[in-house]
Amino acid sequence: MFKKKVTLKILLLLISCDILETAVHFFFKKSALAQSSPAVVDLATAVVFLKAVFASPFLWAGLFTVVLVFIIWSTILTKIDLSVAVPIASFSYILVPITSIIFLDEQITVFRWVGILFVLAGVILVSLSSKERIAQVK
C-alpha cells in the first residue's frame, strides 16, 4: 500500500517538516525565556510562570506551527513508509542545535555533539525497525 520511493515533492515536504519542527522548539524556547524561571518548582510558582508564558505570542506561534507540522506530517505518511520518513525528518536533531547556537547564543561542545549523534543514530534505528515489524506481520 505504501510507496517506498521518495519523490522530490515528498522530500520538499519532509524538509519543510524539519524546518517547522525546529521553529516550534525555537518559539517555545523564546516564550519560556521571556519569563524568569521559578527557582523552586512547586505548583504555585509553576502556575504563575505558565500564566505569563501562555500570554506570550511566541507560545501561540509555536502551537500554530505544531498543528501545521501535524497536517504536513500526516500528508507525508499517506505517501511513504514511516521507516523512510522518520530518518529524513530526524534532521531536526541537527537543525535544533544549530538554531540554538545561531539564534539563542547557546554553546555546544564536541562531546555534546557526539551525544546528539548517538541519539540521532538511535532514532533512525528505531524507525528502521518499524519496517521489519510490518514485514513480519505480513
Binding site: 499517506t78 541519539v119 528505531v126 515489524r133 513480519q136
Partner: protein, 127 residues
Amino acid sequence: MKEGLFLVLFLIALTSLCDTMNQLFLKSAINSLNFTPTFNIVKIFKFIFQLLIKPRLWLGFVFSVISLCIWLLVLSKADLNFAFSADSMHYIFIALASHFVLKERFSSLRWLGTGLIVWGIVIISLS
C-alpha cells in the same frame, strides 16, 4: 549546578512520561475501533468522529497539555539543544510501555536503537 541538572532531567523524564501516557491512551483508543487504513474520506471522517467520542482520547489529551506545561518549565531552565535531545527519553518509555502494556513484540534492532538513545542522553547530560 549539579542539583539543577537533576531537577531538569527529572522534569524531562516527567514530560516524557506524560507523552507516553498520551500515546498509550491514543493507541488504545484506536485499537478498540478496529479501523483498517483506507483512502475513503467518509470512512476516515467516521473513524475520527468515533475516536473523538472516546473518553480515553481526551484523557490522553489532558496528559499532552500537562506535558507541554512541564516542557515550558524545562525550557526556562535548560539550553534548548540539551532539552531537545534529552527529550528523546520518550523513545525509551514508549518502548517499555509498548512491550509491557500493549504486549507488542519488537526486533533486536529496535532495542539496539533504544540503547543508543540511552547512551546519547548519558553523554549529553555529562557534557
